[in-house]
């Protein structure tokens, strides 16, 4: 088999709404440099228990100290001030305690940390009664939860079996199958999506959707009598759907059961319609028939062959419809449902017969009935076994799979009689996919056919995608690296061409697919890629070589659409989708909000006019000029033209002291400018000197000045060069034009800019005053418009362009 594309391609668009990644190791592990060093020597990770407990107190203060906090709040002083004499007897100053805690936090991980005596005293005093929930109980619960989270991170067996199923097309119908997969933010929606098998499988129509009351852990399907039965397992509920054989028929929900303990397994019988087997973590195995209900086959909290702590149980069907296999981590047994207590035999045992390693445990058993009625697949974290129930305990095939994570998903594609069967193995956390082929079972001995082969994983396509902006790249990386949650595949025979489609589901709800073509089927086709091209960095997906532009182009297109949809879905921050609202009650006092007691003069006048007009039956043609509210009128803008040097000069000339004005302007500004220049030169010199003296010192200094340069340079550089027609009319908030207005005044030029930046660059105080004087000349000139609205802002800019 050979991969047709360089990477897996998304089948479905990502669902709207962002995926919340499950906790990562760094979320619950103790992180500290020192601790890491300590840990390197010993094995095992340290859970950050204290931090999580702290989170609880911060996140749920009401639950943690609700009533006692209210009782005690008089006795806790939260200020910085010293306590007065009478209060001191009954009040604790909390700020001191908080300081102590902060200090403790800073020394975290230090092996020789001493608790501050005050803290120790306080905790001794309050530990027993301060907390609403008894601290010991809370700590126990938290610790249990943490341990469980951690063991889930190490190995999550709730996903065993996989939550993706492929319902193959009916015989002779259109090449359209159905993909059953979970989705939604909590993975609690079940989708039945029609998929057309083309070069790249394509979703058709909108999926049938069901909302469930829990996260979907497993989706199992089997075809009996031309109808598909789909079993869905979440933690406490299992449900079964029937999908009629006709194309386009809607799936019908049949029955739901509720379990007290989380269910760990659900398999659908390939023999009888509407029959399933269910296992729960309490060690109970049920045969579930939609017609007749549940039948308990076994209840045994202990493991079968030797003691193992894992509550995981599994069961599957065998060649005999009444005989079920049931498994735990130590092995497999077969039970007869007609007499479960008496009739059973051991099918597989972790031990000598199978040549197991030490510590080897069963991870996933699967009935291979479609390949050979009596064959069974058992995977452990090290090996894969094929068993024959006619010759129990001794595997007919064993092969160490060398996967990095235990294979939790398996899928069988039976070959024709005499041909090899394909088995796909998938791991969750590492997303590994492995294709095995074996033949034999009936007449000949079982043997592997060909070499096992690694398939593309979802995360592998990252290197082929174009580089994104860093935050998007991060998002993409996180999304694509999500643990796998399911596996499905189908064989497609189209005359001489034989190909295999492999679907992989991730925990984020993405379904990716890849096509493998059979090598023997098309010997003429040149090898699609050399060994070298698979090196990281190259992206044949997006290069579109001449040999098959449509196929690769389609893949690239698919990717582009998927990426676009992904970023659209995740653009807004996931949690704060609502707009922040402000209460104005605190911004304004009641008096501010209260309107004037009586109608104002203006209102009275207007009302009078209105009355008059109504009595006369005439029109109100215009208001009296005095009645016009001052701010929005253009007249108010007239003083704004004052900043113009020409008008200033004219005003002076009109007043008669034009000469004086001129004297003032030249002398004053010349002196100012000279001083400023000298100042700048000296500053530069000093900076140079410092730099040579000590690098570390100047680095902080230059950093400062750079900062100020940055903060300064922004507006001034923009405003003089601003083109007359601005697109920013609406964008600046009401406050900002007022700040800018002195800069947009006609005079601004080099001197102003440099002097202003000088001031911010740490010029001594005494010089700053002169600078300020100088600046005040310019600042006084233009009286600021009171509240420039949008249209005014654009008008303000026109003079600045004229002056240049």
């Amino acid at each position: 088999w050979e991969a047709a594309d360089a990477a897996a391609v998304p089948v479905l668009l990502p669902s709207a709404g962002c995926w919340i990644p499950s906790p990562a190791p760094q979320d619950i592990l103790y992180r500290s440099g020192l601790c890491k060093k300590l840990r390197a020597g010993k094995s095992g990770a340290t859970l950050d228990f204290a931090r999580q407990l702290g989170h609880f107190f911060v996140d749920h203060p009401e639950d943690a100290f609700g009533s006692l906090g209210q009782l005690l709040h008089k006795n806790f002083h939260l200020g910085n001030s010293k306590l007065k004499r009478p209060a001191r007897n009954s009040t604790i100053r909390m700020t001191a305690l908080v300081e102590d805690i902060d200090r403790l936090e800073a020394r975290r991980g230090c092996p020789r940390q001493h608790l501050a005596s005050r803290l120790r005293w306080f905790s001794h005093l309050c530990r027993d009664w301060l907390f609403e929930v008894p601290l010991g109980l809370l700590a126990d619960c938290l610790h249990e939860e943490l341990m469980q989270q951690w063991s889930n991170l190490l190995f999550d067996d709730s996903l065993t079996g996989g939550a993706l199923a492929w319902l193959p097309p009916q015989d002779g119908g259109t090449p359209m199958g159905r993909l059953v997969h979970p989705g939604g933010q909590a993975m609690n929606h079940l989708y039945f999506q029609d998929v057309v098998l083309e070069e790249l499988p394509r979703a058709r129509g909108s999926p049938a959707q069901f909302e469930l009351s829990g996260r979907v852990r497993q989706v199992a399907a089997a075809r009996v009598d031309g109808e598909d039965f789909v079993g869905v397992r979440s933690d406490y509920h299992c449900g079964v759907w029937r999908v009629p054989g006709r194309t386009g028929a809607a799936p019908i929900p049949l029955q739901v059961i509720h379990t007290d303990m989380p269910a760990s397994c659900l398999t659908v019988s390939p023999h009888l319609p509407g029959e399933l087997s269910v296992c729960t973590q309490s060690g109970t195995v049920y045969l579930w028939n939609v017609g007749t209900g549940l039948q308990q086959l076994r209840h045994d909290p202990q493991t079968m062959f030797f003691r193992d702590h894992s509550p995981w149980r599994w069961s599957d069907f065998t060649a005999h419809p009444r005989v079920l296999s049931c498994a735990d981590r130590t092995g497999l047994q077969c039970l007869d449902a007609r007499a479960p207590k008496k009739c059973h035999f051991d099918l597989f045992k972790v031990g000598e017969e199978a040549g197991c390693q030490q510590g080897e445990r069963v991870v996933l058993p699967m009935y291979l009935g479609r390949a050979h009625p009596s064959q069974y697949l058992v995977t452990t974290q090290f090996s894969v076994y094929v068993l024959d129930e006619r010759l129990p305990l001794v595997p007919v095939l064993k092969w160490p799979h060398m996967m990095k994570a235990p294979p939790l998903f398996a899928h069988l594609m039976p070959g024709n009689p005499g041909r090899s069967h394909q088995v796909l193995l998938g791991a969750s956390r590492t997303q590994e996919l492995l294709l095995l082929q074996y033949r034999g079972g009936g007449q000949s001995a079982c043997q592997l056919a060909g070499t096992p082969q690694k398939l593309h994983s979802i995360g592998g396509c990252l290197q082929h995608l174009p580089t994104q902006l860093p935050h998007r790249q991060h998002l993409l990386q996180q999304r694509l690296a999500a643990p796998a949650a399911g596996l499905a595949a189908t064989l497609q025979e189209d005359g001489p061409h034989k190909s295999m489609l492999v679907f992989q589901l991730s925990e984020a709800g993405d379904v990716f697919c890849q096509r493998l073509t059979h090598k023997a089927a098309q010997p003429s086709a040149p090898p699609l890629r050399d060994e070298a091209t698979t090196a990281p960095g190259s992206s044949p997906l997006f290069e579109a070589p001449a040999s098959s532009p449509q196929g690769l182009g389609a893949a690239a297109l698919r990717y582009r659409r998927w990426l676009r949809a992904l970023f659209r879905a995740c653009r807004e921050p996931p949690r704060h989708t609502w707009h922040p609202s402000l209460s104005q009650r605190r911004l304004f006092t009641r008096r501010d909000l209260q309107g004037p007691a009586g109608p104002s003069n203006l209102q009275r006048q207007v009302r009078q006019q209105l009355h008059q007009a109504m009595q006369e039956g005439g029109l109100i043609q215009r208001w009296e000029p005095s009645a016009v509210p001052p701010p929005p009128l253009p007249q108010t803008l007239e003083p704004a033209e004052g900043p113009d040097p020409l008008s200033a000069r004219l005003t002076a000339a009109w007043a008669g002291d034009w000469e004086q004005w001129w004297e003032e302007r030249t002398d004053f500004s010349m002196a100012q400018r000279r001083r400023a220049l000298r100042e700048r030169r000296r500053r530069q010199k000093r900076a140079r000197g410092c730099r040579s003296l000590s690098a570390s010192f100047t680095s902080s200094l230059t950093y400062q000045s750079e900062l100020s340069e940055l903060s300064d340079a922004g507006p001034p550089l923009l405003s003089p060069g601003r083109p007359p027609i601005l697109s920013q009319e609406s964008s600046p908030p009401a406050g900002s034009p007022a700040v800018r207005s002195p800069l947009t005044s006609p005079a601004p030029d080099e001197a102003l800019l440099s002097s202003q930046s000088l001031r911010c660059r740490g010029i001594p105080k005494e010089r700053r005053k002169t600078l300020r004087d100088y600046l005040s000349v310019w600042a006084e000139g233009p009286p600021e418009p009171p509240e420039p609205s949008g249209s005014q802002a654009s008008q303000l800019c026109i003079p600045s362009s004229q002056s240049q």
């Binding site: 390939p270 009888l272 009444r322 030490q358 006619r390 010759l391 060398m402 060994e531 698979t534």
Partner: protein, 412 residues
Amino acid sequence: SSHEHKLNFRKSKEECLSYIQDALLQQQWKRAAEFLTCYVESLEKDYSRELIGPSEMIWRIGTEILWHHSQSSMKEFNCFMEQMKTLGVKRYLKVCLEHVFHLLCNGQIDEAYQNLSLAESWRFGEQTAIQDKEMKLIEAYRGLLDYYSWSKQKNILLEHSEDGFSDLAVEQEMHSYFRKAAVNLKEIIKIPGVWDVFVKCYVDLLEFYGDHNEARQVLNEYAYNSKFPANPNAHVYLYQFLKRQGESKKSLISALKILHDIVPSHELMIDFNTMLQKSKKRKKRRLGLEVIFAALDYAGWKENAKAWSCLARQVKQIVISEKHLDWIKQEWNSRKDWWPAFHFSRYLAKRNWQENKSLSYEKALVAGILLGKDCKYFKYVSHRGCKTQLKRFRMLKKFVNRHNPVYLRISG
């Protein structure tokens, strides 16, 4: 520090190994070979106390690469194997055995034989239990090759004897092969395990030389010794041997009875059923019905026309004679809640009719008797059969209609 160095070394070693694995799984043999040459360095400082050390790793990966690499030759392969044999003393025998398999796969039987005898003469220190077992295996495989030569010589001899002249030298050689093979094969069979190939060869040898008692003993031991894992093949071999010997029906039936207990779905159950049906004893006929019902429980037998015809024949017999209807009733009782859905659904009626008319005929007969004339399967098939004007389907319909009261008695 040395500790850190050790750690780094281990890390890079693991990294290298994962690269090799990656290349192997993508069938990039050339790349894997390049990485393997780097990995060889890890032999220098073999601190590991893991289950599979680097030297074993190199052996396994190396053979895999050489086996698939387009440019490797058998000579290179032999050379590599010789090196591997010296690399790990504890693994010597294992490597030898694997080497022999490779040689056999390439048809180099003589070289394989040489290698095996070489390995047999190898000694190192005190023999451990595992070594002992491996040595036995090597001897057994040499015995197998001896058997192979023996059967070749036997064929030559048989051809010659047909021509009418005998060759003493060939005969001598054949006998010596027999002695060598028999000694080694006998040894391995004593150890508990699944030794189907060796047992078959050994019995063949013994039978040729007329040592039937020994053969019978070997087969009985292989089938009935409780130390051996339950192996249905052992009973099959015994049955075939007994049949060849022309043993009485009784012993044949007892051999098959045990096979039935272990594997009710074995192919030989049809033979067993026909044998029992012919029997005059009522008990045996009863067992026959049980056997065929049990076989048809299995999914693999669902479309086996022969089995269905066996069942149909026996059921018909019982119904006509109207004796022992309670047998059917008892068998049916434990199956009536699931056989209708498993065997006699409308969907299956349609499909069986399309694919195999005679199968659907037999099944319809059984369905008509067990479920009455209103059963979906029977109705569909008889309707179709009458439409296409097939005589036997009309007969079938008549028969079932006539015997409909039987259904009431069975289900009641």
